[in-house]
């Protein structure tokens, strides 16, 4: 009968904390279908960092580098888009906050019909980098230390979110298909994470929503000097996310797009009113690295003016926290 239950042997907490920090992947957003994956707004320990790399293979009737999802009837685009970025989580007024930047890059090609003229176009290079800031207003306070991180459970948490894209991506006004959008645009939203049941790795379930409005400036040099205006676009993302094991999870994803009516030199297109559905599988490879694989597709897309697209997505997120890295180095001694 050994009574030697020495507390110093209790190092398992480190594993739990690490899992808590990086289970979600700090940044995994993509403009293709303009939907962040589930678990994006779970909160890690303040001071955490992440570098995401997201690769999308896209097909549809809109340019995936354009979050306005402007539909080009009859067009067929194919794109390979990668996004790389950096995110940092910190405490602001005792609430969790995140600042991130993400840079899209890749290539897109397809048949584009403008004013009755159909051409095959392609573009490649860098798109518009996007800055994102989120701030939690309801839910657990910022995780200032490891005990806070261990005790984190989202419960019902609400953030405010602001995105701003900087129009410095590659742009050629002589063609309608571009990676940069040549205008300012951004988004405001309120990410919601609603914990359903226990918060135990292996059986966590969440319902997550992100109602948001995209706002667009004018592109006054669109397709050889035309003016492109886009009305605000409302977007609701929803995810039902569930752990399968401590490392493997999945989500059912839904997105609703409404509005975003585009006007080119006074000629007005159609409003969006479309639904996209999909799924995501996520796997936490180790304490630092998370992978996801997902597929999404629009469903009510039979009309010529309907948004039509589908995308395969693979994301890889590498996260770290200086404290945890130090512990890992000690462990490997």
């Amino acid at each position: 009968m050994n009574n030697d239950a020495r507390p110093t042997k209790q190092v398992a907490w480190a594993r739990w904390v690490v899992a808590t920090i990086f289970a979600t992947g700090l940044l995994g957003g993509t403009q293709a279908l303009a939907q962040m994956p589930a678990r994006f707004y779970w909160k890690p320990l303040a001071g955490s960092n992440a570098v995401p790399l997201i690769v999308n293979s896209f097909s549809g009737n809109t340019n995936p580098f354009d979050p306005a999802d402007t539909v080009t009837p009859g067009a067929q685009f194919d794109a390979t888009m990668a996004q790389a970025g950096y995110a940092h989580v910190f405490s602001l007024f005792d609430r969790s906050a995140m600042a991130a930047v993400i840079l899209p890059m890749g290539r897109v090609s397809g048949d584009v019909t403008v004013a009755g003229r159909t051409v095959n176009e392609s573009a490649s290079g860098f798109g518009d980098p996007m800055l994102e800031f989120t701030f939690n207003i309801l839910g657990p306070k910022a995780q200032q230390n490891i005990p806070d991180a261990m005790r984190y459970q989202p419960g019902f948490s609400v953030d405010v979110l602001a995105d701003l894209a900087v129009p410095i991506g590659e742009y050629d006004s002589s063609q309608p298909l571009n990676l940069g959008q040549n205008r300012w645009y951004g988004r405001v939203g309120m990410p919601v994470v609603w914990q359903l049941g226990d918060w135990v790795p292996g059986r966590r379930t969440t319902l997550e929503f992100l109602p948001a409005v995209w706002l667009f400036g004018d592109n006054t040099n669109y397709d050889n000097g035309k003016t492109l205006k886009t009305d605000p676009k409302f977007q609701l993302d929803a995810h039902l996310s569930r752990d399968f094991t401590e490392r493997l999870w999945g989500s059912l994803d839904l997105a609703w797009y409404y509005g975003g009516q585009a006007t080119i030199n006074g000629v007005t297109g159609e409003k969006l009113n479309n639904l996209g559905v999909g799924f995501t599988l996520g796997y936490q490879v180790n304490n630092n690295l998370g992978l996801t694989f997902g597929y999404k597709s629009t469903i009510n897309d039979n009309g010529p003016g309907d948004l039509k697209m589908d995308v395969f997505q693979i994301s890889l997120v590498y996260g770290w926290h200086p404290l945890i890295e130090g512990m890992n180095r000690l462990k490997s001694e």
Partner: protein, 610 residues
Amino acid sequence: METAMQPAARERAVRKTLLGSLGLVVLAATLAAPPPASAADSARRPNIVVIVADDMGFADMGAFGGEIRTPNLDSLAKDGVRFTNFYTHASCSPTRSMLLSGVDTHLNGLGNMSEWIAPNQRGAVGYEGYLNDRVATLPQLLKDAGYHTYMVGKWHLGKQPDQIPRARGFERDFALLDGGGSYWDMTNISAVAPKSVFTEDGRYLTKLPKDYYATKTYTDKLIGYIDANRGDGKPFFAYVAHQAPHDPYHLPKDWRNRHVGEYDKGWDAVRQERLKRQVEMGIMPAGTELAERMWFVPDPIVLAPASRAILGKKMELYAGLVENMDHHIGRLVDHLKKIGEYENTIFIFFGDNGAEGTDLFGMIAGSPGSRDNLYAAINWNQTNFNAWGDPGSWVGYGPMWAQVSMTPFGQFKGWLAEGGIRNALIVSGPDVKRPAGSINHGFMHVADVMPTLLEMAGAVYPATRNGEPVPPLMGKSWGPMLAGKADSVRTDQDYLAWEVFGNRAVRQGDWKLRWQFKPYGKGDWELFNVAKDPAERNDLAAQNPDKVKAMLALWESYVKANNVILPSRGPFDTLEKDMPQRVTVYPGFPPLIYQRQFVPPKELLADPRP
């Protein structure tokens, strides 16, 4: 199963024959006899509720200095009397055997726990590992005296049909026969007996009731038993043997987060706070020292905040488990008040031994590749912090918090230091004439319960059972104490002795002689004045050889009278080699860990010269 069915079938046949004739006899007796005097007497006799908490510590209740919120137990203490010098045994079934038989463990069958019967004890009378049939039981004698007898909770005194609660005198029972297991289902601790065994009214259960949760279900069942026989004029004896707060700490979700972060400050701080309150309340005398922190437990100051949070969470769960038990005890008390029985009910509450400081789960399942480790991987694998309390989780709080539970004493369950055998006792009810809310320091023992209750119930302890002499009661009735006529039922010459797992102790008056395996003991006899030194910090054997000699004589007398056979093997055989070398723990030593960053005077700060 066959052995279980045969007596049952016989019983049914006999019952059928008897029932017919019994009806005639009862009818004739009713017509012929005057109104039964015994019914009137019964109405005046008190109901008895004995509540035993499993592994609960001396200092956990609010009424004994704990910060754990136990309003219902505190209320019993406020209405009754708290006793601070009450002894149990160092482990579960030995204590329970003495409670229910009034006889020393080495005579009643629990000379060793069934799990640890040594090779040289096998087959010896008194070492059966279950409550043997030589002893008369408290429920049987009370039943014979006209009491209804009910039992709910943990039994741990035998599983065979002739050893279960129904066979030992309880009319109604809902019992866990094992020593522990899940609070939510029938999952038991180890692969050797993977399914917990339960009985209800003498039948072995194939499944548990819907919405089973141990503490709640036990309480519900008992209330049902009480209600079922209400109004027949007979008093009842209820033995409520809660599984709580034995590990694993299984508790409903809404009881898990009532102390979040409160224990991050660490065990030393909580022990100091508890002792301060104990002294203020009069539980312990002024000047009482805390037992030294166990030598293998670090000062929490050296731990990372996360370690303190994780270890603190274990104590949070324990506190929640105790509070949940208190809640259900409150439900029982409220029910008795509602039906008008509270005022006529004696309550006795105590913990069955010291708090649990052993890593029971690690001991059973801690070796990868073992049978029990595989069983744990399948059944006890909910290790995540947030899963603690759920089915499949196993949390025990370890030696550091066990010492907190046993403030101010040293050591814990399984050992014969005060922290292993001294526990908090509350007695309240109509026969308690001492001032309500008072505290008494008389020298008491769990085996006293039986003579006390027999006296209250007007029952008699028999000289023989089944034609054989019954071992003598070892305890003394608390009658004079409860009546306020004496401060203790023991004189300075009376003594008590203990032996389990080869550890041994004798207490007489203020003195205690103790032999324990290294490194918890010295592997030799130690002498303590537990009145002045309840924490057993100062071994006085060398200065008092005559006292040692005199108490050794008492020990020898005890061995002879009770057929004590020291085990040839036991759980502590290799402990000295397995554990860190014991050293004395001094507060503030080593200074190294208490130093702070030196901050020079501001006026002497300077940048390096070029």
